[in-house]
Amino acid sequence: MSVLGIDLWTLVIVLVVFAFAVGFLGALAGLGGGEIINPVLYLVFGVPFGFSTGASSVSVMGTSTAASAEYVRARVPDIRVASLLQAVKVPGAIGGAALTVYLVRLGWTPVLLIVLGLVLGLTVPLYVIARHEEDPRPETSGKPDRITQELGLKGNYFDQSRKKVLPYRAKHSAWTMLVMIPSGLVTGLFGIGGGVLNILGMDRIMGLPMKVSSATSNFMNGLAVMSSAGVLFAGGLVIPQLAAPLAIGCVTGAYTGSRFFPRFHNQQIRWVFIALLMVFSVWTLYKGVVTL
């Protein structure tokens, strides 16, 4: 099913509305839009796979820039943790994007589709096991490793529910850095933020509070997606007139969702996102296998 034959006005409006909905729901569910935008562009809109990846990466860059501006002003992201982890994630993203350009040129799109289907499928259980509530751990829990101690990876954040500043301290930094390798690769390969992997690393392994993990993930995603978008652009996979309406819709949707509807954070929206991820995982896998 392809809608590429319709006139440009209609298509632009459809793209903006679609991206707004994804950005809006993503903000409420605590996920970026890349995981939905890329498969929908390919499967529903009929956009060639490499172009859908380029457009998705620009959308994620827009969402990350807009959201980070808000979070940074509130001093939520941990700049030290972000600086350490992005040193691993950025090369992964550059490598992933270069691989996408190479495989698209070789005509190995079905392989990319199968991998995307598996990544989306894997995202579901990771998203389910991730904590979605603020549950600050005591500062003394867990023994910090050498990297954590040397770099002083600890900080404070303001907990809204308790109305007080809570301290935290990171641990297992080396293991978390390892998680950033696949996170960077999927960012580059598919133009998605890899937020689920980021948060898994920072929340589950590093032991940072959920709010700090989420904001730090957003903060460092900007740099990783920017580098992968540069490679994708070099490879001719970023079509500006496709990327712009998506980025506009996604950014305004995410802004509206996070700014005006914070009380709508609920389990039902997360289940809608999980259902969508499962559908697109199976659909993408199927498309990859039949076109192999």
């Binding site: 860059m61 820039t65 950025v90 303001f158």
Partner: protein, 138 residues
């Protein structure tokens, strides 16, 4: 630890990253985002009005890599009302914002005596610049 006076959240001050440093980063990101939004909207409107007769299939046949490869060509498209030129300029705003906040981070790391993280951030920026040069010459 001392606290920022007048800050509603009263987050204890970090010796390296003060409230001022966070505000500088937030401003850079905000201006980048607003610049992108403005130019992207102009680009989309220009694109629809100037190229609205095209089907999207025609747009997908463009090769952005060759079309905007030289600076004079790029500005030619921009001043000629080229939709893609506006959108790419918007994306460049976001890139500049992200690079600015990374430079600010690096400066504060070195000012705060955190040389390891400062060096790591410099290395990431070198990688990024390499990546952007790759985008230009690949």
């Amino acid at each position: 630890m001392n606290a920022d006076q007048g800050d509603a959240c009263v987050i204890p001050n970090d010796p390296t990253f003060t409230k001022k440093s966070y505000d500088q980063m937030a401003d850079a990101l905000l201006y980048g985002f607003l610049g992108f939004l403005l130019l992207a909207v102009i680009g989309v409107i220009v694109g629809v009005y100037k190229e609205g007769y095209l089907s999207f299939n025609t747009i997908l046949k463009q090769n952005p890599r060759s079309e905007y490869w030289t600076v004079p060509q790029y500005f030619g498209y921009l001043f000629g009302g080229g939709a893609n030129a506006f959108i790419l300029m918007g994306i460049a705003f976001m890139v500049a914002a992200t690079l600015s906040r990374t430079i600010i981070t690096t400066v504060y790391f070195f000012k705060g005596g955190e040389r390891v993280l400062g060096t790591v951030t410099v290395l990431v920026m070198i990688m990024l610049v390499g990546c952007l040069l790759l985008a230009r010459y690949w």
